[in-house]
Subunit: 471 residues, 2 copies
């Protein structure tokens, strides 16, 4: 029986980064993956594929150029679906090759099969590479799967969850998306940009409730502009798939009894942790009602040799945080001391078209906490760079502590928001002030000039005019 | 006679920002501009137009999509020139409107005409708005003009300098560009991407000598890949324009006597300060042999009430630094204390296709200064985001002090390098270490992940393996 320092179950973002880090520091590592391909949801069904589809959608729709040249390119739908998915598959393949090469480089053993934890130091693999592995530590990085509400006829053809939607072979003329969370909003914009008629049904009256309200309104307005129709405070019931010859293949009813129909339905109603059959509860590992593994801040479960990281432990369930959770867990297992905890805050990137990205305190939080604050805003269209790009939408907003002038939060809606946020993350982490932002030289023309313009705007909004120099 | 606190000569980036800052703080400000349009070279002949042309070139050539879909779109040249320049003119117009609105908002008076400084507190305006202005301070922000070597038949049609090139009404089939500085390299890539055959003649053996050598080699290799032909260690002599019916309209000779010919010639051989006729020397303002005004670190000239900022004072002559020089000069005139000096370092953005942007120490400088350093590299194509974009080229390089692990310099070649550099600027200014970069969460997939990958690479390159945790 082969002996390891660490056996990892799952090769997604959390599992991969944990494996490479442990191996880099000389530990013997094995990864058990139930799929034939490495990479988990990050590579195969979630992060990468949906982001690639977004880029492809932008390309074919010509939306990215609309503002620039004032013309709409007609989307030749049927002809382009093949390319649309070809590109996605190519990126997925390349990423899998990268992970395989990375594992080989670091002498990480991989086993294809289904894992069960027999005891706190033994993992049993069933399937292709069936065997039993002895190990000092176990990391559960099995990810999540889409929650399928009961009574919905998921067929992977007309009615989809957030996994099967990536295998469609046609762009629907119309789609009903249920759930206006991150996944629902991302797909709503992707399909809208591809020319699909999109209805987004949400049980709440608002989208993305964890975001700054003003940024949300900007996104919502822009989604409406590109054709997304919102149906709030409603649910979808009695979903029925009708024979192919109908124009609308899926028929259903809204809460108020009104019929709703479309070519395709997508349920984006949350995901659950993949814990079934691992044998965790039998060993004393705690699992909550959303099927997420309960861990402490070192990512250790109730069983000292068993850790868990990534989607399987729940919020925030981002590829970015999952990777670092994997790395941090390894740091604690082996006492490396180089990355002992995750920053309590992290950038949040939403890959809608255009993007949203946020870091730190929202204006709503500042109000709730009764902080004396002011805000500074800069619009993309007012930047020289924005003019070159021809963008109409886009807002960067700073939340600032009035007395100290320290930047508490950065909230961005607009192109490459997920890139732009990192500079703001640094400002908040370093407790930088408006003066610091203003005194710096920024490349021009760039979108990073938004920070400087927003800082100047905060000086006005904060009524610093009486004492402009901060004495 | 109208009395002002500040009279500014020139409405380019330095003049505009100085005017708005002084007016914002309640000062009476006038701007004298010799052109009918506001904005100077930043808006009319330099920064914005060339960057807009770059975006337009990318769009029409399809280069930005080549990597993404593996197909070359054929550039329909003749048909697109009109659009190419339409877009440039539109952006310029919008930016002029912005500046006009900004001046109106802040009650800044503008005078169209040629300015002469009569005495340290009086500016005479000749032309449309002829008058005499009394003022406490004068800011000279007159910019620069292209140096025209003697004996070259500049006609603004076949033989261009860096101003007239923006008024061409055809895309040449071939062009000879003389000078491989920033302007020469930017236009070489713009024309190459538009399908023009480009020869770049340079008297030195290297391009952009102030950059990190490795980054330069990356750029040069990529320029060769898109078709730019370099002719090093040579000059161009005996330039003659031949009648229109010839295929190549401009004929010349290289230093070695070989003929060189093309549809069009562009001299990108440096710029000189616009000081002629201002009456500066008569008042005792010092001007160097490159026609640049000599100022101290507060941007004051030898005459206490006269300041100068922007291209007219020479290096670095970037729109970004010029704007802040304007702001800093105003801070000193009126004792505002909020922005007393320019950061000694600034990001340098070169808008080639793709871009280059750098901040802080180069590897070559580290060697010269005998600093014990190591480097960390990450390639765009190895990032998940790079795979989605389908890029082949692109490199981010960190120069790190080995003992302290502090980041001394960041050097980037690749898409949106001018945006990406700002995060690196912050790392260098804050003396952040590799551990800091590694311990942070980055949005994925983004190009900012390059920083994390490069930091990990630096750990390997720096041979920290023996002591990976920094004890």
């Amino acid at each position: 029986m082969k002996k390891y320092d660490l056996v990892i179950i799952g090769s997604g973002p959390a599992g991969e980064k944990a494996a490479v880090k442990a191996a880099y520091y000389g530990k013997q590592v094995a990864v058990v993956e139930k799929r034939a391909d490495l990479g988990g949801a990050g590579t195969n069904t979630g992060t990468l594929p949906s982001k690639t589809l977004k880029e492809t959608a932008l390309y074919y729709s010509g939306l990215s150029d609309r503002g620039l040249f004032g013309v709409d390119k007609e989307l030749e739908r049927a002809a382009n679906v093949r390319d649309f998915f070809f590109r996605k598959n190519q990126v997925v393949e390349q990423q899998e090759e990268s992970i395989t090469a990375n594992f080989k480089l670091h002498n990480i053993d991989t086993y294809v099969g289904t894992a069960t934890i027999k005891d706190p130091h033994t993992v049993t693999v069933a399937g292709k590479d069936a065997c039993e592995l002895q190990t000092e530590f176990i990391l559960v990085a099995t990810g999540s799967y889409p929650f399928q509400p009961p009574g919905i006829p998921f067929d992977g053809k007309f009615v989809h969850d957030s996994d099967t939607i990536l295998n469609i072979n046609r762009i629907p003329r119309s789609i009903v998306i249920v759930g206006a969370g991150v996944i629902g909003c991302e797909y709503a914009t992707i399909f809208a940009v591809m020319g699909t008629q999109v209805k987004l049904v949400n049980s709440h009256e608002e989208i993305l409730t964890f975001l700054d309200r003003e940024i949300c309104r900007e996104l919502q307005t822009d989604m409406e502009r590109i054709g997304v129709q919102f149906i709030f405070g409603s649910r979808v019931d009695e979903v029925k798939i009708l024979p192919d010859e109908h124009t609308h293949n899926v028929h259903a009813k809204l809460t108020n009894g009104e019929p709703i129909e479309a070519d395709m339905f997508l349920y984006a109603a949350g995901r659950s942790g993949t814990v079934h059959g691992l044998g965790l509860e039998e060993l004393g590992v705690e699992i909550d009602k959303r099927q997420n593994i309960v861990v402490d801040e070192t990512y250790r479960t109730a069983v000292p040799s068993i850790y868990a990281a990534g989607d399987v432990i729940g919020f925030p369930a981002l590829a970015s945080t999952s990777m670092d959770q994997g790395r941090v867990s390894v740091t604690h297992m082996f006492g490396f001391h180089d990355q002992e905890k995750l920053s309590p805050q992290f950038p949040y990137g939403i890959y809608t078209i255009p993007e949203v990205s946020v870091y730190g305190m929202t204006e709503d939080e500042a109000q709730e906490k009764k902080i004396d604050y002011c805000v500074g805003r800069a619009r993309f269209r007012d930047m020289p760079r924005g003019k070159i790009m021809g963008v109409k939408e886009g807002l960067l907003k700073l939340v600032v502590e009035r007395q100290s002038r320290k930047i508490l939060g950065v909230h961005i809606f607009g192109k490459i928001a997920t890139e732009l946020i990192h500079y703001g993350m640094d400002l908040v982490q370093n407790e930088d002030t408006l003066s610091r932002v203003i005194s710096r030289v920024y490349n021009t023309p760039t979108l990073h000039e938004l920070y400087k313009y927003a800082a100047y705007n905060a000086l006005i909004e904060g009524h610093y005019m009486d004492d402009p120099v901060g004495h």
